[in-house]
Structures are given as structure tokens and as C-alpha cells.
Symmetry: C2
Subunit: 252 residues, 2 copies
């Protein structure tokens, strides 16, 4: 019997990632947060700040995943086109969200500033959307259907994820156990394959590393059942020991 | 007149990125390397270690880009399925490449070790492929058609890119100039939009930041012509100055 697996996709919108100017930090934090909700990050796309590219990615991924997240492109400048692109993807108009406008008025009012046209851009949403609170700055995130539109700045995206914690339906989180070993992974490939094969529901990832002139690898055993993770991990550790290698619990 | 733009896509193959275990470092290095070759990284996908996912991504992206790179999944273990998946995508069989076998025999022979079946997996290529030298470890990269199959370990991937330097046809590299300013980007949104509009071939990215309680942004002006980048950058700097803000050349 296999339980229902909930999946999500992530679309990272940003020329700055594709140019190499900015190193992405959203994949990792979205992945870890999703797993805690019992949802697997199944696929990621990084697309340019172009409407057709965003529309294509969002429409492909929202159709085949339970949830689809985007990061980036929700600020006040001309290159922030995520809301327009997603409205186009959904075939709905862009409207000013009254609560978002009120939030911006309160945010800038406290600072003695006006809500200019540029700032009001941050209250624009695809029609039918709800807001995701943003405690860090004026512009809220947006939820519409199974789409979640987050900021690109990692700590603001993190705040939006925090606001969503516990609100999404998910399944069992994926558990993992990492066993490291100073061995070339080619020496233990058969052992790993057999351990995975003989424990149902387990996936073992093998990640080589090269450090201080030595070759090693970390073996990550993943499953939704702690008992299965434990049993498979014990089998890997025992197999390494009987082949004469030291298994390092937690990884090297 | 617009010059021919050469594009590439990148497919990152790896459950370890999707689980959040490993932070990707290949997008940035591939992006920067491509730009030096006069090729733009146009899109990236991160896919799981599953054949259908790899086939779908590779076939979509190789068709609409001049080049398609992959990273990950070319080692000796059971989760290394990139070669099989790409052979399936291309509809060709997997064969042992004689030169790859010889390289592995030399590599392990020097260390007094055998080329086991697991190690010989690293000599498997889609039929018709050429090798990309790997000076770091035994397993070579693979080129077939417009596909370039690289290692997932960043420093090994870097060595393979290095081996490819200067061998790919490209166009003009994208040049950039960064101007930073301690200003909320919403205050200068009109200025940026107008500067981009009035300089043909320019794209301006606006990247907000929040540091030490202050709000600022970096404006990145990109074009293939240095004269155009300079002129647009001067216009942005002058616009900021006349609005009473200090423009910081190089960014904040």
C-alpha cells in the first residue's frame, strides 16, 4: 500500500538567477519548508522575466502538481511582471486588491509617505486572489487556486512561507538518514542498489565528495516510514562494515 | 538591427537539490561560463532522478535552445541514470565508449584497482557521443549533438566547462553595469522604466535589498554594447542624482 504523495512545483522568476548575478536561495528553503508540510518539491524551473516564459511554466506545473509556488517579480518596478503573467496564465484580469491597498496605505502612511502609482502596483492581483501576509515589507504574497506567489528576496519569501505554515494539506513528510563513508562510491554501488531494492518505499541517494585529497560519499536513505529508514540504514551500515569500511552516522 | 542571440538551457538532475539537502551551485557557474562564451542561459529545470522527468526536460529544452547542458547523475551508482535517460530521449542505444573505458582502466590501473562493473557504468554513453575530458576523476562528461552532459559535483563540472571553453559558437557576451542606491525601488520605478525604454537593447533589473535597517536596491543595466550600457547607466545615475539620491557605482 502506498500513501498519497502530495507534490509541489516551484517557478523561480528572475533574470538575475539566469545571468549568474544572484545565487538562488529559494529552492532550498522552499524544499525544506514543503517537506515539513508533508509535500514533496517535485520540480523546479527558473525562467526569465518574460511573460510567455512565466505563463508556460506556471500552466505546465500547476496542472500536474498539487501546488505551484513562484518566487520573484512582485515588486514595484517595470521588471516585476509576475502578477500580469499569472493573470494571463489563468485568463483573468488584474485588479487592485482592496486589502492590499489598505495595507500599503497603512505601511507608507506610518512612514509619512504617499502610495504612488509605482507602489500601488504592489496591490495588483489576479482577480479572485487572496493575500499572503508579508510582515517584512509592504507588498503581500498572493494565493490563487493552487498557485502561491511569493517574493524573490529570500527572507521575505521565508516570512510568507511562515505565514502559510500548517495551512496546506499534505501527506507524510519524507524522513531521511545519512550515512557517510570514506569510500569511492563505485566500490559500494552493488551494496546500495541491493539495500534500496530490498526495502520497499526507500530511495537511496549517493553523493560523492572529494576533500583533502580523499574520496568519500554520503548515502542518504529516504522514506516516509521511520522504521523503514532505520532498517535500510542499518543494512547499509552493516554492509559497509562487513566490506571493511567505517560507516559514519550523520555523514562525512 | 539585432544580432543573433545564442541560448542554452540547463537541466539539473538530482533529488538532493529537490529535497533541499544540497544547495545548487551549478546554475551560477554555468551561467557565468556561458556568458563568457557569448551564450545566454535562457532557462533552467531541476528534475528528479526519474527517467521520464529527464527525458521530458531534455527533449523540450534541446529543441528550442542552441545548447542544452545537464548536470548530475553520471556516477557509478544505481541513482545515476542520466546516460540511460538521455539515450532514451534521443532514441539511441547505450554503448561502452572505448576511449572512456581506456581512461577508466588507466585511472584505476594507476591506483592498483580493477575496473569493476560498477565503474564500467561510467564508460556508458548514448551511441554517437563524444567525451568531454574530466581531469578531476575517472568519469568523463559527454557531448552528443547539442547536449552536454556534465558531472553534478560543482568542481568537476567546472573542469568540464573549462575543457569546453572556446569550443562553442556564440554571439556577443551580455555586458552589465550595476548602480546601487539607498532608495526604495518604488521611488525610482518611473526613472528606471524610462531609462530602459529610451535605450534600445537594454534590460534593467531592479533588485531590492534590506540591510542594517535600511532599504536600497541595485539596478543592473544589461546590453551587448558597451556604449549602450554606458549611456543608459549614465542616464540612471543622472536621474538618481537629480532626484536627490546618491548613485553608488558597482552597487551597494
Amino acid at each position: 500500500m502506498s500513501e498519497r504523495v502530495w507534490t509541489a512545483a516551484l517557478v523561480i522568476i528572475g533574470d538575475e538567477i539566469l545571468s549568474g548575478r544572484t545565487a538562488d536561495r529559494n529552492i532550498g528553503q522552499v524544499a525544506v519548508w514543503l517537506n515539513a508540510q508533508g509535500i514533496r518539491l517535485a520540480e523546479v524551473r527558473v525562467v526569465a522575466d518574460r511573460e510567455e516564459a512565466i505563463v508556460e511554466a506556471v500552466n505546465a506545473l500547476r496542472a500536474r502538481n498539487d501546488y505551484c509556488f513562484t518566487t520573484g517579480g512582485i515588486g514595484p518596478t517595470h521588471d516585476d511582471i509576475t502578477v500580469d503573467a499569472i493573470a494571463a496564465a489563468l485568463g483573468v484580469p488584474v485588479v487592485i486588491h482592496p486589502q492590499a491597498r489598505a495595507t500599503l496605505e497603512a505601511y507608507y502612511g506610518k512612514r509619512g509617505q504617499e502610495v504612488t502609482d509605482a507602489r500601488l502596483r504592489m496591490a495588483r492581483v489576479p482577480e479572485g486572489a487572496e493575500l499572503i501576509p508579508n510582515r517584512m515589507s509592504g507588498a503581500p504574497g498572493i494565493r490563487i487556486g493552487n498557485l502561491f506567489i511569493l517574493a524573490g528576496v529570500p527572507h521575505i519569501a521565508a516570512g510568507m512561507l511562515d505565514a502559510l505554515t500548517g495551512t496546506l494539506e499534505g501527506g507524510l513528510p519524507l524522513l531521511s538518514r545519512t550515512i557517510g563513508c570514506w569510500v569511492a562510491e563505485s566500490e559500494v554501488a552493488d551494496l546500495l542498489r541491493e539495500a534500496e531494492r530490498s526495502h520497499e518505499g526507500v530511495a537511496i541517494g549517493s553523493y560523492p565528495l572529494f576533500r583533502e585529497g580523499r574520496t568519500g560519499a554520503n548515502f542518504v536513505i529516504r522514506a516516509t516510514s521511520q522504521a523503514v529508514v532505520d532498517a535500510c540504514g542499518d543494512a547499509v551500515a552493516a554492509g559497509l562494515a562487513s566490506a571493511g569500511f567505517e560507516a559514519v552516522e550523520g555523514g562525512i
